[in-house]
């Protein structure tokens, strides 16, 4: 149990519709090891965000349970940093104040707070915009600010919901490399949702492919490629092979669920 950081155990979730129940997730079990980088891909509406919301403590599971370090999740907490698809920056706060928001809630001195915020801002390259309001930032800068805000409280787990989805290809690659760099330095456990198969393979130790109706785990694919991941690895035949396998599992899913 000790190396399991996040553990989904027989998790199901349905939402009540007008006259029926909609099964968003059905019997999902998944263990994510400490310091592992897991990416999750799957068709739209297959329950990826719902699954992550449960690990974050924002969504209650219908049945089953989610354990973090062997303890059931009881609501959100600063041990798990969440990066939302819609940035979710506080628009009335500057970049620096956004980054300091979580730090103000922890018992550290003002000097340390400022220092840690500054470090997180430098890490994502927003030093020159530390005192700007979010409305003056581009999409990529907003997302970097959200990442800095999550990093600043130094969570053991990072939950990222399509964080780079809205960015242009160049910014996206830059942020991917930056994320991998900090991950290999600080070795957090990462659960990362994406629509992009290349991104899923490039980042992960393991790729979890989900299927819809009902939302379930379709296949888990190991990525046996060394870190640091480089341009060469991206172009290697092995990368291509894994990417094809993931691609195939996502886009040519057998309609019936492979019963687990």
């Amino acid at each position: 149990m000790n190396s399991k950081k996040i553990s989904f155990q027989g998790v199901s979730k349905s939402f009540a519709l007008k006259d029926t129940e909609f099964a968003a997730l059905s019997d999902v079990s998944l263990d994510i090891a400490d310091r592992e980088f897991v990416t999750v891909v799957g068709p739209s509406g297959c329950g990826k965000s719902t699954l992550m919301g449960m690990a974050a403590g924002l969504v209650e599971p219908g049945t089953g349970q989610i354990l973090i370090d062997g303890r059931p999740v009881a609501g959100p907490g600063p041990d798990r940093g969440v990066i939302f698809q819609q940035y979710a920056l506080f628009p009335w706060l500057t970049v620096r104040k956004n980054v300091e928001f979580g730090l103000k809630l922890s018992p550290i001195s003002p000097e340390e707070r400022r220092e840690r915020a500054q470090r997180a801002i430098e890490l994502v390259g927003l030093t020159d915009f530390a005192d700007a309001l979010p409305k003056t930032l581009s999409g990529g800068m907003k997302q970097r600010c959200a990442i800095a805000r999550a990093y600043a409280v130094n969570p053991e787990v990072l939950l990222m919901d399509e964080p780079f989805g809205a960015l242009d290809a160049l910014t996206r690659v830059q942020l991917q490399d930056q994320l991998l760099r900090t991950w290999s330095q600080e070795r957090r456990t990462v659960m990362f949702i994406t629509h992009d198969v290349d991104e899923a393979v490039y980042l992960a130790n393991r790729v979890v492919v989900m299927a819809a109706r009902p939302g379930r785990i379709y296949k888990v694919i190991d990525v046996d490629l060394p870190y640091p991941r480089t341009e060469e690895i991206r172009l290697s035949p092995e990368f291509g092979r894994i990417r094809n396998e993931v691609w195939h599992s996502v886009y040519h899913q057998a309609p019936a669920a492979p019963v687990a």
Partner: protein
């Protein structure tokens, strides 16, 4: 021949919008006022029954200022509007928050708010007189009610509309309900509250004249009532213009507060 000027690197200061608008805007405003006065003069000259012109009204205004009537009326009216408005919004903000934040409070309070909102304040006056006599209380009460009802709805809508992901973002950073309320819900709904206050202010002025029908001794509404009895149109105009100018001035003050407090909003 083409001269190419290289523009300076843009500095990230959002000052651009402010500098251009006043010059043209104020120019157009002045033209509008002059035009309006001209049309007014024409109309009164062309003999609409008893309509007094701008000059006549200005003269009467000066008289009323000189003998102290206008300042006293303005003071009395302002005091009522301001007291009613301040009490109304001071109560509306916490009640609106309560309604937006707690489903129970919403369920208990909303039917009353919606019900009283459909009753014009004017219709409350007979009841207010019978219950509260003919002193200051019923007048302030009616203005209070008008201001309260219109701004409570805006506040509560504002709280309801706070982006759920912002609340979640605060929760995952470890914020308690109290912190979320103070640091997320309050700032996020400030724009709505200020809009509510502006509506409330409009409602307060709108109710003033009606409130001063209640056996007042002074006040702009009362003065206009009196003037009506004596067919004194210039005085009525002085009253109308005073109400308009005062209302506009207070609204501009709130607008200024809005600019300062909610400049962070992305404007579309």
């Amino acid at each position: 021949m083409t001269a190419v000027t290289v523009p300076d690197t843009p500095t990230p200061t959002p000052e651009r919008r402010r500098t251009r608008r006043p010059v043209r805007g104020i120019g157009l405003n002045v033209i509008a006022v002059v035009l309006g006065l001209g049309i007014w003069t024409l109309l009164s000259r062309s003999g609409i029954q008893g309509l007094s012109g701008p000059v006549e009204v200005a003269v009467r205004g000066a008289e009323l200022i000189a003998d102290g009537t206008l300042p006293a009326d303005i003071l009395a009216s302002l005091r009522r509007v301001f007291t009613g408005f301040a009490l109304g919004t001071a109560l509306a903000v916490p009640v609106g928050f309560l309604m937006g934040w707690y489903g129970t409070a919403r369920g208990l309070i909303e039917p009353y708010v919606q019900f009283f909102r459909t009753i014009p304040p004017l219709a409350i006056i007979p009841l207010a007189i019978l219950l509260m006599g003919i002193g200051e209380t019923p007048k302030v009460f009616v203005i209070f009610l008008a201001a309260f009802l219109s701004s409570v709805v805006a506040t509560f809508q504002g709280v309801m509309d706070v982006d759920k992901t912002l609340i979640n973002a605060a929760r995952v950073l470890g914020a308690s309900d109290r912190v979320i309320f103070l640091k997320v819900v309050v700032p996020a709904s400030t724009p709505f509250i200020i809009v509510g206050m502006r509506i409330g202010l409009g409602a307060a002025w709108g109710t003033l004249v009606a409130a001063e029908l209640i056996a007042a001794q002074e006040g702009l509404g009362y003065r206009m009532q009196q003037a009506q009895l004596y067919y004194d149109l210039p005085t009525i105009f002085v009253g109308l213009i005073s109400i308009g100018v005062l209302g506009l001035a207070m609204d501009r003050l709130l607008l200024l507060a809005e600019r300062r407090l909610t400049g962070w909003q992305e404007r579309r």
